[in-house]
C-alpha cells in the first residue's frame, strides 16, 4: 500500500503516541523483561512458558507405507466412506485432474509432481516431473498442466500424452521474487482463462515490498500481469464460485501474537484490482496489528473476510462442491482443508470443514466434515487440498502421509492399489 506523505506523517505521529502509550501501560498487562524488547514483542510468556514448546511441524521426507496409513482413524458423517486412493507421494499437496482422468499431485517440500493413473486396471502413482523448486501450485486447462514454483510459472502442453517421457516444462513467467517465506504458490485458472496465483508476504509480520503480499494474474502465455488484490499475508487455496464466478480464497494470518488470535480467513475478491485485505495493518479483518495498525480503521479501510476459520487453523485448499453424489445439503458448499495449527499448545484445525453459503455468496455456517487427523494432540495426517471428481466423489491430499484419499457417499467404494 503506498501512503501519501500526509498519511505517513499521521502514521508516524500515531506511532509515536502509540509507542508512548504502550510503554506506559503495557507493563500492567504483561511482564516486562529486564532488557526491554520493543513494545510489540512484550507480553509474551516467560522464559520457560508454554510458548517455548511451539515449533512448526514438518512432514517426514518419506511417504507413509500404504499399510500404515491411519485412514481408519479419519471420521466422516454417516453415509460417507473414506479410503486411500493412492499413496507413496512424498508430501502430496495440490490436486488437479486432466481431461483424460489423470490426477496430478504436487509437492511443497520435495521437487516432484506425481500422476495417478490406471494402468492395466491397477491404480498407481508415480513422479512424472522432477527437479522442480517448491512446485506447490498446479492447474490444468485445455490439455496443459501449469506449474507455479517458488519464482516461476511454467507449462507442459498435452501432458497426458507425455507421462512416460522425461518432461521438461517451459517457463512462461519468471518476474517473481525469490523469498522463501510464503514463497510457495497456489495456482488456479480463472473463468477468464487467466492464471491466478499469490505472492505471499516474505515474513511473519513486516511491511512487505510492493512486489509481495498480493494476488497476481497473467494470461496463459505468461504475459499481461495484473495485480488483482493486495494486503494478503499468505494464500494456499483458491476456487471460483460456480455461479457468480468470483474468486474465493483462504488466507493464513500472522503468528506469535496470541494462541487465540488472529483467526485465519475465508475471503472473496469483489473488486479485482482494488481490494486490500489488510496485511500488515490489520488481521482477521478487524484487528489492528500492534506495530503497524496504529492510525488505521480496519473495517473502513480494508475488505472484510467472509468468515473466520479459527486461530492458526491454517486453511489451505478449498473447493466448491459441484457434484451430485453427496446429499443435497452439500450442493454449492465449500469444502476447506484446515492443515492444522502449530502456533497453539492444543492443536486446532487438522480437519476438513464444510462451509454453507447464502444465495448472495456470503457465509451461512461452518461445520466439521472430516475429522480425526489429530490424535492425542499429535498429527497423524494433515489435509492440504481437495478435488471434486466427475462422479461427485471428493479427493483430498495429506502431505504428512504423502497420500490421497477418496470420500464417497452411498455407493460402493473403489479400492486403492
Amino acid at each position: 500500500m503506498i501512503l501519501s506523505s500526509v498519511a505517513r506523517r499521521h502514521l508516524l505521529l500515531a506511532g509515536a503516541v502509540g509507542t508512548m502509550l504502550v510503554t506506559t501501560f503495557w507493563p500492567l498487562v504483561a511482564q516486562q523483561a529486564p532488557d526491554a524488547p520493543p513494545p510489540w514483542a512484550q507480553g509474551r510468556p516467560a522464559q520457560d512458558g508454554a510458548a517455548q514448546k511451539l515449533a512448526p511441524v514438518s512432514p517426514p521426507p518419506f511417504a507413509t507405507a500404504a499399510d500404515k496409513i491411519p485412514v481408519d482413524k479419519f471420521k466422516a458423517p454417516n453415509g460417507f466412506k473414506i479410503e486411500v486412493y493412492a499413496s507413496g507421494m512424498v508430501q502430496a499437496r495440490s490436486l488437479r485432474e486432466g481431461s483424460k482422468g489423470t490426477i496430478f499431485v504436487s509437492s511443497r517440500l520435495s521437487d516432484k509432481i506425481y500422476a495417478i493413473t490406471d494402468r492395466n486396471g491397477k491404480r498407481e502413482a508415480r513422479p512424472v516431473i522432477t527437479g522442480l523448486y517448491r512446485p506447490n501450485g498446479i492447474a490444468f486447462h485445455n490439455g496443459t498442466l501449469y506449474i507455479a514454483e517458488l519464482s516461476q510459472v511454467s507449462k507442459v502442453e498435452n501432458i497426458e500424452d507425455k507421462l512416460d517421457q522425461a518432461i521438461k516444462p517451459t517457463v512462461i513467467y519468471s518476474d517473481l521474487p525469490k523469498d522463501e517465506p510464503h514463497g510457495w504458490k497456489y495456482l488456479t485458472v480463472g473463468p477468464d482463462n487467466r492464471l491466478y496465483f499469490q505472492v505471499g508476504a516474505p515474513c511473519n509480520i513486516c511491511m512487505p515490498p510492493d512486489t509481495h503480499a498480493q494476488i497476481r494474474s497473467i494470461n496463459l502465455d505468461g504475459g499481461d500481469m495484473k495485480v488483482v488484490a493486495r494486503g494478503i499475508r499468505q494464500i494456499v487455496g483458491m476456487d471460483w464460485h460456480p455461479v457468480s464466478k468470483q474468486l474465493y480464497f483462504t488466507e493464513n494470518q500472522r503468528d506469535w501474537l496470541s494462541e487465540e488470535f488472529p483467526e485465519d480467513k475465508l475471503n472473496r475478491l469483489v473488486n479485482p484490482g482494488k481490494d486490500n485485505f489488510g496485511f500488515p495493518y490489520c488481521h482477521q479483518g478487524n484487528m489492528p496489528d500492534p506495530e503497524f495498525g496504529w492510525g488505521h480503521d480496519c473495517k473502513a479501510e480494508f475488505t472484510q473476510p467472509l468468515v473466520l476459520l479459527g486461530p492458526h487453523s491454517a486453511p489451505l485448499g478449498m473447493r466448491f462442491y459441484t457434484g451430485q453424489m453427496f446429499p443435497a445439503e452439500y450442493r454449492g458448499t465449500i469444502l476447506i482443508a484446515r492443515h492444522g495449527s502449530w502456533n497453539k499448545t492444543i492443536k486446532f484445525g487438522g480437519d476438513i470443514v464444510v462451509v454453507k453459503l447464502n444465495d448472495d455468496g456470503t457465509v451461512k455456517s461452518v461445520e466439521p466434515f472430516i475429522t480425526g487427523f489429530v490424535q492425542d494432540n499429535n498429527y497423524i495426517g494433515r489435509p492440504a487440498d481437495l478435488h471434486v471428481m466427475k462422479d461427485g466423489s471428493v479427493l483430498f491430499s495429506d502431505d504428512y502421509n504423502g497420500a490421497v484419499y477418496r470420500v464417497t457417499y452411498g455407493s460402493s467404494p473403489v479400492s486403492a492399489r
Partner: protein, 198 residues
C-alpha cells in the same frame, strides 16, 4: 592423518577409497561405526568437529539429521562432498545413520573469556525473535529443529547468513522467515552467543 591403531587405519583406508573410488559409504563397510567413519573423519568421532565451517553433529535431533541427509541424497541441498557421500543410500540407511549420529555426545561450548557486550546484544535478539521458542530451552532443538548449543561459531555464521540470503536450501523456509529483519552483524553476535551456550 597418522594411523595410531589398526581400526584408525581401516577408517583412513575407507575414507580414502571413498574419495578416490567414488564408492558409496554403504558398499564398503559393515558396522555403523565403519560406515560412518568417513563422515566422522570430518565431523568428529565424538560429535565435535575440529574442522573450520564443518558442523558438529553430536546430539543433533535425529529427524533433523534425517531431513538434511535426505536433502543431500536428493541433491536438494547442494554441498559437494555431502552429495557425493549420500549417493545410493537407502531410506532405511538414512534412518539408521541419523539415529546413530544423534546419539553422539553434544559438542563442548567455545572457551570462556566471553565478551559480555556481545552476549547481551545476542540475548536481546533472541528475546525479540523468539529463537528459543523453536530451538528450545538451552537451544537443544528437537524434531526438525537443530541443536544450536555449542555449535561451531564459524559454521553458525555461515549457516545463518546462507539462510538469510536464500543461498542455503532449507526443507522449510522458517529460518529465512525469521532472519528477514536481522542484519549480518547481528547474525555474528548470535553465532558468538550460541557457540558459548553451556
Amino acid at each position: 592423518m597418522v594411523a595410531t591403531s589398526k581400526k584408525h587405519g581401516v577408517q583412513i583406508i575407507v575414507f580414502a577409497l571413498t574419495l578416490l573410488g567414488g564408492a558409496t559409504i554403504a558398499a564398503l563397510a559393515d558396522t555403523m561405526e565403519e560406515r560412518l567413519a568417513p563422515c566422522l573423519a570430518c565431523h568428529g568421532a565424538q560429535g565435535q568437529s575440529e574442522k573450520p565451517e564443518v558442523p558438529s553433529l553430536g546430539a543433533q535431533p535425529a529427524f533433523y539429521l534425517l531431513v538434511q541427509l535426505y536433502m543431500f541424497r536428493e541433491g536438494m541441498r547442494v554441498v559437494e562432498p555431502m552429495n557425493e557421500m549420500m549417493k545410493g543410500t537407502s531410506d532405511d540407511e538414512l534412518r539408521s545413520m541419523s539415529d546413530f549420529i544423534s546419539k553422539l555426545p553434544p559438542p563442548q561450548p567455545a572457551a570462556e573469556n566471553d565478551d559480555a557486550t556481545r552476549l547481551d546484544q545476542a540475548r536481546s535478539l533472541i528475546h525479540a525473535n523468539r529463537c528459543n521458542y523453536c530451538h528450545s530451552q538451552n537451544f537443544v532443538g528437537g524434531e526438525n529443529i537443530p541443536r544450536l548449543a555449542g555449535q561451531r561459531e564459524d559454521y553458525l555464521v555461515k549457516a545463518l547468513r546462507a539462510y538469510k540470503h536464500n543461498t542455503r536450501r532449507a526443507y522449510e523456509p522458517w529460518m529465512s522467515n525469521v532472519l528477514y529483519a536481522i542484519t549480518d552483524e547481528q547474525l555474528a553476535d548470535l553465532a558468538y552467543f550460541l557457540a558459548r551456550v553451556r
